[in-house]
Symmetry: D4
Subunit: 173 residues, 8 copies
């Protein structure tokens, strides 16, 4: 448990999205960003959502990561109730049509109310995007972000070792 | 202007949807169903929407027809704020992706919050569906509905006249 | 077995749709709405369908829930034979193309013959929509509907307990 | 006007499909196949359709060409009411979703009730397919069909003349 | 083994399509229609295909059923080499994109060269369509076809027994 | 001309995207955010892009808005060369497949390299998102953002006047 | 007219594809590559195609560029009749379904028979690809290719002039 | 291990694509073409990619086969950095949307920068295409290619044996 003021809010409409959305939490944990995580439904608990979005900024939250599947209204509805940047994660729900429904429901927001949409089920990328935004004004976070990015490069470099093991006569190493 | 209590509410998120949604009004007018028509945005005026949906039932409204394009949240958000049946009209907006976005955003609602979706830009059909619901308990409306349906048959029968004019040597009339 | 007059008719074209369509029956059972359930094919038993739709209204039925997969004609064909509201459930059949075929075959009905389409495999939502229509004129049903909706809210509220169990150092609770 | 017994029936649900479906009539005329052409709606005049399909075979009709747009049920519904081969023409209606709706509504028929589907708006090809079926047992029709096919080859050969006119320095003729 | 002259030819491009295409053979066997079945590739053995299509008609074949997956050229290429009706079965190959590739490659044939396309993997329906064509001029086949169709109706009627077993308090039987 | 250090960079791959991307510039101008606008191609001038992205942060730029059509690599390639947040605008190019190509090429970025994607041709929304990010740490910008949002509400409220002009007998005002 | 042996063959199935395919000829002309251009249909003139593909290699042709729309079989059928590399251009025909049909018919070739597919209507890119292949073994062609690529860079650099003309107060130049 | 200069380079963005891309290596091995295989990411190691593409031609490489999934930029980005022909393999990644994302990201390249795209996961076909290009100027490789193609024909001919085993009474052998 952490007593710091959360900087990022992770919101989903139902616990069925938790498996996907936990990847956002994992990344924020790894990057040492205080966050909170909530289940609030745009359709079943609209008043609760209203209450929740009313003072996000006052509570120190900078970025909201909202995930939803099917007719995925949650990110867009939140974006209508706050001027904080909202990152939308289209979740491929079990009732989904190959993910197209959640992608289009989040991406195609009307003029004036953008949602920063990431790829299907890409909650981890949503969290990285949140960190990139926070890093703009926080040197510590920026440092951790640069290290994270460097680590990604290393993974690619290390792949050479996997390829070394390939056994082809006509492969030139 | 009409002083009767409206039975149907037509709602859209912006006047850019009016060309499509007017077809619902036209049909209700023709069927002599008192209705009201509103522009309320789920994203830009969420409080107004909340207020509006709070007492629909008390005001005598039985059915809501809601149209929206793109990431079309309006019908679903209304469905989350009332237990009246909501008929959703996917509008092919200018920013739309061939209409898929509005169709999927309205159709694929989560468990517990259905929207009765009709075809793309099919506001007229939405109004007919509303009349079918009202006709369940109103004999006058039902009578007008039966007449309307009979009129549709006539149109098909009358098409024979168009075909008579075709001039083919091998066509058997 | 129940001797009351059924208020809702659940129709499907084949028993292969029963697994999906039973979810409509489950919800109606839970809401104490008398219903009947039939297998009638628009293509293989068109006369049976004709007979069946001829006196639905006289038998007290108010709403039809029709489910079908593939080239899903059943809901639309029924809608052409009655003026009762027809709710269409696109079923993702084993021969389906990701569900697109049943969705479009049900949704895109021609002018004058609407089908109230719900999401893919969303038979439960179809039943809720039916209940919303019945509740317009039946206070008892309306009361049960309000309780059902309240129960949905509770589920969202209870999700907080699931989140409590998450174990992150940087998560603020 | 022609008094021969028609061999092919062209059916559409509304005169709005006539522009497309006339191309089938044109081809049959050219191939000297007696045909009839009808507007009958599967949804608005189901009884008329029933009547019409009841004695097609007795009246000497061998093949039905049925065109429809949107949720295009007409070809499939006819296929359920006759054992004559039904050729379906998906029409790209004005309310269509890029033609996907009519294609899938016609193509994806359930087991036991096939529709011979041709390409979008391809009424001419539907008529050629009808002629190919008739030619199986009618030597005269077959002869005309072979001539028609030979004529198609000629068109391709004649295209060389168009290419002759191209003026490129590096083009080898 | 059968020495009668085959009336229907079933062709596929590779044995990987055999599981699907066998359903056509099963139906023809059940309907007592002599048929042959071949693996010929439009791409890998074009000369063999040319040879094969050259004398189909002379050998007494009336209808070709051709199945293919992916960029499914086989049905269309055959249709270019014969004037017999070709029924195309889009096979959902393992390399397929949800079946769209084979459907569109078979359906969207150019003017003058139609393929009678059936649903995805619907080889059984292809065979029924073939039987419907043969039945136009063969009373024996027609009789078996009528019996087959009647059997389909029975299956729907028998479904009532499945429904009898459903145990709901509010279900009216 | 402006001498302030730019806070936002608008980049596109070709001047053919300028009509869409200018809407981002218009919004930034209206919100008084210093910006720069560049044409740099990920494919045709990769070295120029490398140079450009090398010192964005040092030059004071906080957010990049990158638009591209077709196989729209520009936003993602930039995101691979900087840790600043990149907002991607899928442009519906003339060679585009209904916009699907640019949407998917921008949205579906691999793990570790997110792009904040907005709707098709939604350059204006991209700019609003950029302002929302800048407003997190700049009270002046935040104030202008709040005013902008309030103005949007007013537009919805003013729509009532358009509706007043509708002339229906059964419309309740 | 040119008497050199053609190195590239441009083939299309009908003159209706000429408007698109001429862009390939334009590029080859510009790059001074001798080419020939033919209309041959895989479906209507299969024997002609067979003849044509039989001695391509002997005639000095190195690469074939084949364009087709709808169920676009031409490139794949040619690829089955030669081992020369075949570049396929999906043409968005007037009967096309947004280009998906031609793309998938060309792209999804079976194992062993690849077609090098380029973008929709991208005949110019097909020609560039052909030049890239020819340049592998021809220093002159390679030199012209390098110049062409350099020219492309210049176009991007020159775009700066267009941007100079933009008139924004907050734009930093 | 092989010391010859590699003629083909196989590149992928991550080892998660190795299962698919190994099929290209298998084919090159079988055809005795010296090749190299690399993991380089367009997004995570852009500098490495730049270095790698800088001297491909000098090192004797003639063709690049690049595979990627999701927003698959690797083939296109390489094509922007070399004038060697680049063959793109759309990989159906686990985060993919049925493969559409990788197909469109690779296929729809802008004017001037073509990628020779093959089918989804079709790395083997990519390698055959590479061999077809190499065979244009290398008689040994061409000989092996002709043998490979002949072997493919044999597989189709041998399929007859599988069909012999089918046991149908009405099947004519």
């Amino acid at each position: 448990m952490n007593n710091a003021s959360p900087m990022v809010s992770i919101v989903m409409g139902s616990t069925s999205d938790l498996d996907v959305m936990k990847k956002a939490a994992d990344l924020l944990e790894q990057m040492q960003i205080p966050f909170e995580i909530k289940v609030i439904s745009a359709h079943r608990t609209p008043e609760l959502l209203h209450e929740y979005t009313a003072n996000l900024s006052e509570r120190g939250i900078k970025v909201i990561i909202a995930g939803a599947g099917g007719a995925a209204h949650l990110p867009g509805v939140i974006a209508g109730q706050t001027t904080l940047p909202v990152i939308g994660v289209p979740v491929k729900a079990s009732i989904s049509i190959d993910g197209w429904d959640s992608i289009l429901s989040i991406l195609q927001m009307p003029p004036g109310v953008p949602v920063a949409t990431v790829g299907l089920d890409a909650a981890r990328n949503a969290a990285i995007l949140a960190v990139q935004i926070l890093a703009l004004y926080d040197e510590d976070i920026n440092k951790r972000l640069q290290e994270y990015k460097a680590g990604q490069k290393d993974k690619v470099y290390n792949a050479a070792q996997t390829l070394e093991k390939l056994d082809y006569k006509y492969m030139v190493k």
